[in-house]
Amino acid sequence: MTILDHLAPLQVVLPLVCAPLIVVVRRLGFAWAIATLASWASLAIAVTLALRVAAEGTLSYAIGNWPAPWGIEYRVDALSSYLLLLVSAIGSLVMPYARRSIVAELPREQEYLFYAMYCLCLAGLLGITITGDAFNLFVFMEISSLSTYVMIALGKRRQALVASYQYLIMGTIGATFYVIGVGLLYLMTGTLNLADLAARLRDVQEVRPLLAALSFITVGVGLKLALFPLHQWLPPAYAYAPSTVSAFLAATGTKVAVYVLLRFYFTVFGDSAVFQGVPFAAALLALSLIAMITASLVAIFQHDLRKMFAYSSVAQIGYITLGISLGNVSGLTGAIAHLFNHGVTKGALFMLSGGIALCCGATRLSELKGLGRRMPFTSAGIVLAGLSLIGIPATAGFTTKWYLVIGALERGMWPVAAVVVASSVLAVAYVWRFVEAAYLSEPQPGLSARPSEPPLSMLVPAWILVAACVYFGLETSFNVGAAQAAAEFLLRGPR
């Protein structure tokens, strides 16, 4: 056995052991270096795993050599390798950005602790994605959530504490709902392994407990992924957290929760009779459509740039759940590709608005007048990423909306396609508010017109993501290609 056989557990263990290491050494430079190296190593492992999955099919790893239904299994398939890549890639870009941003936003004695929390969060998110065990998934969910609450509470303003508390309450209710659901499944089948669950659920005749389990899991995970109307924790959390945290979470946190939903809907419950006669897809469709319209409308009327992007996230999550509810290859491809596309886009936007907060001390739209002249690169980046948010052709956002519209039309739901387009028009409205403030308003008197960009270590990672928004809009073989493979894999159902 070589080290290559153990890549799956290393993906999680590596960032996990870095966290206590950072706490013990207590040095900021060391903490940053270790967290960065852990992120890059995770990315390298994720790339290797993705290549192996593409070549050999699903990988399975028995922790401690206990075979699958009894021991905990780590399982990497087309969908989880895609999410592993997204999470570790965003982490690898956020870490160089964090160095200057964290120094500017956190008190000196808390800086190294941030990196410990980040490593825990990364380990938790990667763990959720890679594990094949329903209860292990809960533990990783709580590891990532608890570290997230701490990171949000580190925000400079006192509202961050309240945002963190609210998220803690709602997030814990969500996780507990998930455990109730898993508990009911365990009572019915006696197994916690996701693949084994799927096989045994096929033979369960009593649908009622399964229906209860599915409902608990849907609501619980819905809280975590900020499904409308369970999204109230998200806007304050993203708006008041340190910029680095907002960028990392907006790109990964809710996406991993969507992964859990996909896993349960398609892999675990895919073959069981539980969906028959219950309008789950219709309910999800309705909530998605409401999220797309109302959250976009609310975003238009925000005074703060980061709040605006946070509400836009709720709307964008609506697109993802819309794709899931359509349930055909095109819709699901759109949903899975949007995990990646929206992660990249929102990551770029939160990184750039963090740069604005650093240089101007504020992200209120009324204080950003004439920003296009003062921070030309930052403003141009926000506009480009904003175009991807709207879904202009030749940006990443367009490709997913294309698949969602096709998916809706294949099902004959042309009003749904119309709502997708209408929501994009609303996105034009809120992105335009930034353009108006930055380029079309006279700068406030008294402010120097000298350009003052954030340091390169913050600007470059943000612009890499902005470039990715354009690149993945033109060259779709990775984001859409891999998403399509994952969608077809899911729709084939458990084997």
Partner: protein, 122 residues
């Protein structure tokens, strides 16, 4: 199957709903956390109660015993208890910090101060 034969489920569901009710109905941040604790504890019962067989022993293979209780739920819930304790500790720590910053742990008073803050920044 009677009402009494499922009494452990009734207890579980009562605790579950009572906990959730405290979380939503109480305006005091510490009381909310207590409710959250009750809610999480109800799930421990949901897992452990069905694992016990009356007359069952620990699963140690021996000719003298024929029925065994399922030990796995206990192990799972041990983990869940740790998660619950960590959540409660973190929640209380945040409440302490909120008290330092706002001088109150009543939700309405905190929201009022936030609104006043927002109005002052307009």
């Amino acid at each position: 199957m009677t009402l009494a034969s499922h009494y452990s489920y009734w207890v579980t569901i009562f605790l579950m709903v009572a906990g959730l009710f405290i979380v939503t109905a109480s305006g005091n941040l510490v009381k909310k956390l207590i409710g959250l604790g009750v809610f999480q504890t109800s799930v421990y019962l949901l897992y452990i109660a069905p694992g016990k067989l009356i007359g069952g022993t620990a699963p140690i293979l021996s000719g003298a015993f024929l029925t065994y209780s399922n030990p796995l739920p206990h192990v799972l819930i041990l983990t869940a208890i740790v998660v619950g304790v960590a959540t409660l500790a973190l929640g209380l720590a945040i409440v302490v910090r909120i008290r330092e910053e706002y001088g109150t742990i009543e939700e309405t008073a905190i929201l009022e101060q936030d609104r006043a803050d927002a109005a002052a920044r307009q």
